[in-house]
């Protein structure tokens, strides 16, 4: 007996709580990855990140409507199509935004902040005009909403497993794209020395556009996946933006490993404190700790060592 609970109860809850922490970790990584790529590689602070996520969510909503109407036999696997389309839609919109807005502002980081914030407002109102002010309900295939009962008490939510798998897949994909492909090489070359990269024949403008598009595309996938755990409405993107920035800044802006480490520490801290104290208290304590650490280490957890 531990407190009022039996030993099995206690260990079961420990296991489920561990799983909850891992789910939160995956969610955080998925949220932050796109932003981290854009911020780290291009120095652009994309305030419209949340709205790109919601674009993915709305694409998923449209897919669910389309499949239940026209292809009900394939409804159980529509989610995979939806994620691909969500990526495509946000990727294209991202490239368009880079072409029409961001590329004029590369040497003015504060202006990009303001411009992308304006963009986020525009997108929110666009969603509101197109889909209505109310939240939409995304119907999910049944197999995604259930849970696996391991013992009487331990139940593992399938959507948690799904998000975890997806996060691993995307992270690996990004790793290969950045560190094992020609395009990744050009991108890193541009980050390290733009003039020199241009001189050796890399199309730096195209690299910028692709990078921004990729970051937005990943946000779109994240948004699509989050229809399983959250709401889909014109302003729902705002729910994620604070946590996302927190993770990217805490992790050290230009390091993917940093983003992952920071997502891990923040999610574990948060879910543990939430369990022992309350939700609001967990947020306060997490934020205080992060602020404290950032005061001692303003560059974040990890930094890329490059000559400037």
């Amino acid at each position: 007996m531990i407190g009022d609970y039996t030993y099995t109860e206690f260990t079961s809850i420990l296991a489920m709580q561990g799983f909850a922490g891992l789910t939160l970790f995956s969610v955080f990584v998925l949220m932050a990855l796109g932003l981290a790529i854009i911020f780290g590689q291009m120095g652009v602070i994309n305030m419209a990140h949340g709205e790109f996520m919601i674009l993915g969510a709305y694409v998923t909503y449209l897919c669910s409507q389309f499949f239940s109407e026209y292809l009900p036999s394939l409804f159980s696997i529509y989610f995979f199509f939806a994620m691909i389309l969500a990526f495509a839609a946000s990727f294209l919109l991202g490239m368009l935004v880079e072409w029409g807005l961001i590329r004029f502002l590369y040497r003015r980081p504060l202006d990009t902040l303001l411009a992308t914030w304006g963009l986020s407002l525009i997108l929110q109102q666009a969603y509101r005009s197109i889909f209505g002010a109310r939240e939409v309900g995304v119907t999910l295939p049944d197999w995604l909403m259930g849970s696996i009962a391991l013992t009487d008490i331990i139940e593992i939510p399938i959507n948690g497993l799904f998000v975890m798998g997806l996060t691993i897949l995307i992270t690996l994909g990004v790793y290969f794209a950045m560190f094992r492909s020609t395009w990744g090489k050009s991108m890193r070359a541009v980050v390290q020395n733009r003039t020199m990269a241009g001189a050796v024949g890399i199309n730096t403008k195209m690299v910028d556009r692709m990078t921004f598009g990729l970051g937005c595309g990943i946000a779109g996938i994240a948004g699509s996946a989050f229809t399983m755990i959250g709401s889909t409405g014109p302003t729902a993107g705002q729910l994620y933006i604070v946590d996302t920035f927190l993770i990217v800044v805490f992790g050290g802006a230009s390091s993917l490993i940093g983003t992952i480490a920071s997502a891990f520490s923040i999610s574990q801290a948060q879910s543990t404190i939430e369990f022992f104290l309350s939700g609001s208290m967990a947020k306060v304590l997490t934020l205080l700790t992060v602020v404290g650490i950032l005061m001692l280490r303003p560059q974040g957890l990890f930094t890329l060592k490059i000559r400037r």
Binding site: Q17, R134, M145, S147, I153, F226, G230, T235, F275, A282
Partner: protein, 419 residues
Amino acid sequence: MRQKTISPFSITRRALLAGIAVLPALSFASAPLRAQEVATADANTTGLAVTDDTVKVGILHSITGTMAISETGSVEAEKLAIDQINAAGGVLGRKIEYIQEDGASDWPTFAEKAKKLLVEDKTAAVFGCWTSASRKAVLPVFEQYNGMLYYPTFYEGLEESPNVIYTGQEATQQIIAGIDWVVREKGAKSFYLLGSDYIWPRTANKIARKHIEKLGLKVSGEEYYPLGHTQFNSVINKIKLKKPDVIYAIVVGGSNVAFYKQLKAAGIDMAKEKPLLLTISVTEDEVLGIGGENIAGAYASMKYFESLPNDNNKAFVAAFKEKWGADSVIGDVTQAAYLGPWLWKAAVEKAGSFDIDKVRAASPGIELTTAPEGYVRIHENHHLWSRTRIGHARDDGQFDVVFETKDLIEPNPFPEGYQ
């Protein structure tokens, strides 16, 4: 969407002349209609926007920003009520014209627009606000310029302004009957209180806790999550560990969707009622976002459900769907918003005047037998006597009404022993 007002300068001279020529004929034609009614000079001694044929009112809700999700239904209901009143001859023989302003989910904007509606537009009444924060922001404006606000949302109570009529339930009306029901019918012994972290859920849970403890039952947990929180796995684990009979949930906004989806994903089947879920913050409007299949089996305690079988409600639902589309749903607050214009009309006609002071004096005791929720009456404290009902959520996003209080419940915004 602002009401278009035609500036005289935009009319061509010829049209103006033609208009002048028609004027005597018009006033002659409508003269017999107005003869038995109150002259404008008598009905309006304080310079409100009242003419011989029209009276201006304001609609003040957020149609942009976060709160647009919730406030859209209220705007639709108020416009429907105004249309119906106009079709039935208006108020004291005058057609209602509304001026709509957008509070934009921003509380200072609400105050600014309220001032505009009262000072510039001289509206005779304003129907609006949704969150307590927006109401608190406009309250000084309405008190300073002596306006009349009809406020539709169920809220935490602890307020009674001479310039506001509260058409939603205050907290004790909504909460106590619900808890009594779940204790009596479901044999609940322990409660887990959960809410979003702001004034309404905290005050409401305070009342709930006092009442539960008065009944000698147990509160096994109470906690709050920041607005917009989307991760509820930890609290769901805690609930599983503590095994309460009832989860008493007052989660709002985007968090609502996350909470119910994760509850379902974690294997808590609400249909089994172990634990049972009772909420006071989910209406048909919220279910649209949550998805009926994710909340089916939960209970909600409030004064109105779209499925109420009485004739008033059937007519109201039909009219609402005809005007705003067959897909639209009607939640508790939407119905309360619909009562606003009707209660105002009744008070104006009882007073025989649009003057705010006379309308206020006439308001207590005003009854509405045509209300979709059934009979309501305005109390001395400007809240409504109303029944509380328990709805059982269905797959299709509607609620089955499984219980309703026998008597009207007296509004008690300052409940002694609950603060």
